[in-house]
């Protein structure tokens, strides 16, 4: 039951009448010689880490070594509790959850790379806002992780999830695509709709550069995780309503790789271009690395 392309995954789902998460679980059993139970237990450990990283970022005093990030997730939570959130409670929560994880990551806390550390806030934020809003169980969230991993696997296999290779589109774009597909399945959408959501998410950030200040996984990464989870929610909403991506998922993934390859070295995690190369970016870099 192996596959490398989105189209093959959809065919397997159709032929066997399975969800993406079910295909991924069966595939993993084959690949790893582990039982379903062992695999699900291992994922539940990841889910638990995701949950505690959100909680930690929202409740504890989290600050990075550089001092660039920390405390912003809490600000969003505090505003939501006192005043009316501009984009609704669900979106406000999603934004703060994703930022909480990135702040914990920058402060040398424990996270799950999904698919990378720099994009690790998007999938947990999407899963846990949905869980709270619609009372989903941990087992359902584990299915969400399985579905997300299917999308991430196809992107890793056919393109890249590394910022150094493909820019931020490959990191937060991939994470958003993974989260969007998970949301669609959790909300009862079809595998086809899940792939449309993944395609839309990726298309929304095609060309996004990776330009971290001082080369650190902090800024603008944290805010781009907030945009990433919003992107996933928006794309899932479209796909669940029957909106389709005009370009099929596999072609979007190919396009992402080609765009990534055409990005100059300066805009692929080298901290030599974009925001990292602004006067302020350079000043901050000197202050931090000169420490």
């Amino acid at each position: 039951m192996n596959f490398t392309k989105g189209s093959e995954l959809i065919n397997i789902c159709k032929e066997k009448n399975l969800k993406i998460s079910e295909v991924m679980l069966a595939r993993e059993v084959n690949l790893s010689n582990s039982t379903e139970e062992e695999i699900l237990n291992k994922i539940s450990i990841s889910l638990e880490i995701m949950k505690s990283s959100i909680e930690k970022g929202l409740t504890e005093d989290v600050r990075s070594i550089s001092g660039l990030t920390g405390g912003d997730a809490k600000k969003i939570k505090a505003r939501r509790e006192k005043e009316k959130p501009v984009c609704g409670f669900l979106m406000s929560k999603a934004i703060s959850y994703s930022m909480a994880v990135l702040e914990v990551n920058a402060a040398m806390g424990k996270i799950v790379a999904a698919p990378t550390a720099g994009s690790s806030g998007i999938l947990p934020a999407a899963l846990f806002v949905l869980a709270e809003e619609y009372s989903l169980t941990d087992n359902q969230l584990i299915d969400g992780i399985l579905t997300a991993s299917g999308i991430g696997m196809i992107i890793s296999r056919n393109a890249t999830v590394a910022g150094a290779e493909g820019g931020c589109q490959a990191e937060t774009g991939s994470a958003a695509a993974m989260a969007a597909a998970a949301i669609v399945e959790l909300m009862g959408g079809s595998p086809q709709a899940a792939l449309h959501a993944a395609s839309i998410s990726m298309k929304n950030v095609l060309g996004l550069v990776c330009d971290p200040i001082a080369g650190l996984v902090e800024a603008p990464c944290e805010k781009r995780n907030a945009i990433g989870v919003s992107n996933a929610l928006i794309s899932a909403e479209m796909a669940l309503a029957g909106v389709e991506s005009i370009i099929p998922f596999d072609e979007v993934v190919d396009a992402m790789l080609k765009v990534g390859r055409s990005l100059p070295f300066q805009l692929r995690e080298s901290a030599l271009g974009g925001l990292a190369a602004t006067p302020t970016g350079i000043r901050i870099s000197k202050e931090i690395l000169g420490k």
């Binding site: 993993e28 990841s46 040398m108 790379a113 997300a148 690395l289």
Partner: protein
């Protein structure tokens, strides 16, 4: 091409902030720890390339020391590894160096043990928390630590390899990859054996007894 597991995509579980600069660094440190087998007095880290430029901001230094203490990449004690090392009386120092034509995220670790013996190990963090070891005690080699891995220093003499693999066969251990390296003919050599099955102490002791085998190290990070 490699078949990605779901845990390659959603994972690793790790201490931030960077899979290559933090998680990978910790794994290289842990292999050095396994090679030294405890009793460490001091450690010198020679940081190359991006490791040298950004190690403070990424906590690469804390992760390396965490590895030397035997911590895994998802151990929350990494953040406090300097204090823990100090409590154990282990001294650590860091130097920014040029190690030549190697991966940008490379570190050479020089361990001095309490008996004054030294172990040198060089490793690169090649992305996504994956690593490769490229040199041990002056011998260039390559392994990843992703499989149960035996490192067997031996004398470059006939029979050492055959007898070692025969022992693995007796214990029904399948060899996934195996390579042999040597300094010069008839002198110090290394076998690197990566297996599909776990390796128990009994196997290690059997191999240690083989003629011309100098030592046996299990350097797995999984």
């Amino acid at each position: 091409m490699k078949d990605y597991s779901i845990f390659d995509v959603v994972g690793p579980n790790m201490i931030g902030p960077s899979s290559s600069h933090t998680a990978g660094a910790c794994k290289i440190g842990k292999i050095a720890y396994k090679l030294a087998r405890g009793d460490i007095k001091s450690v010198t880290f020679m940081l190359h390339g991006s490791f040298a430029k950004t190690y403070r901001g990424h906590g690469t230094d804390k992760a390396l020391v965490g590895g030397i203490l035997g911590f895994d990449a998802d151990d929350e004690r990494i953040k406090h590894s300097f204090i823990i090392a100090e409590e154990k009386g282990i001294k650590a120092e860091f130097h920014e160096v040029d190690l030549g034509e190697v991966h940008p995220n490379t570190v050479k670790i020089i361990i001095t043990k309490n008996d004054q013996s030294k172990t040198e190990i060089t490793g690169s963090s090649i992305g996504g928390g994956n690593i490769k070891i490229i040199e041990i005690d002056g011998v260039q080699l390559e392994f990843t630590g992703e499989y149960p891995t035996l490192l067997v220093p031996h004398k470059d003499m006939p029979g050492a390899i055959a007898k070692t693999t025969a022992i693995l066969s007796q214990h029904k251990i399948n060899i996934a990859f195996m390579r042999v390296y040597r300094h010069d003919k008839g002198n110090n050599a290394f076998m690197i054996i990566e297996t599909d099955n776990p390796i128990y102490t009994e196997v290690i002791n059997d191999i240690k007894a083989v003629e011309n085998v100098i030592n046996v190290y299990l350097v797995t990070i999984i």
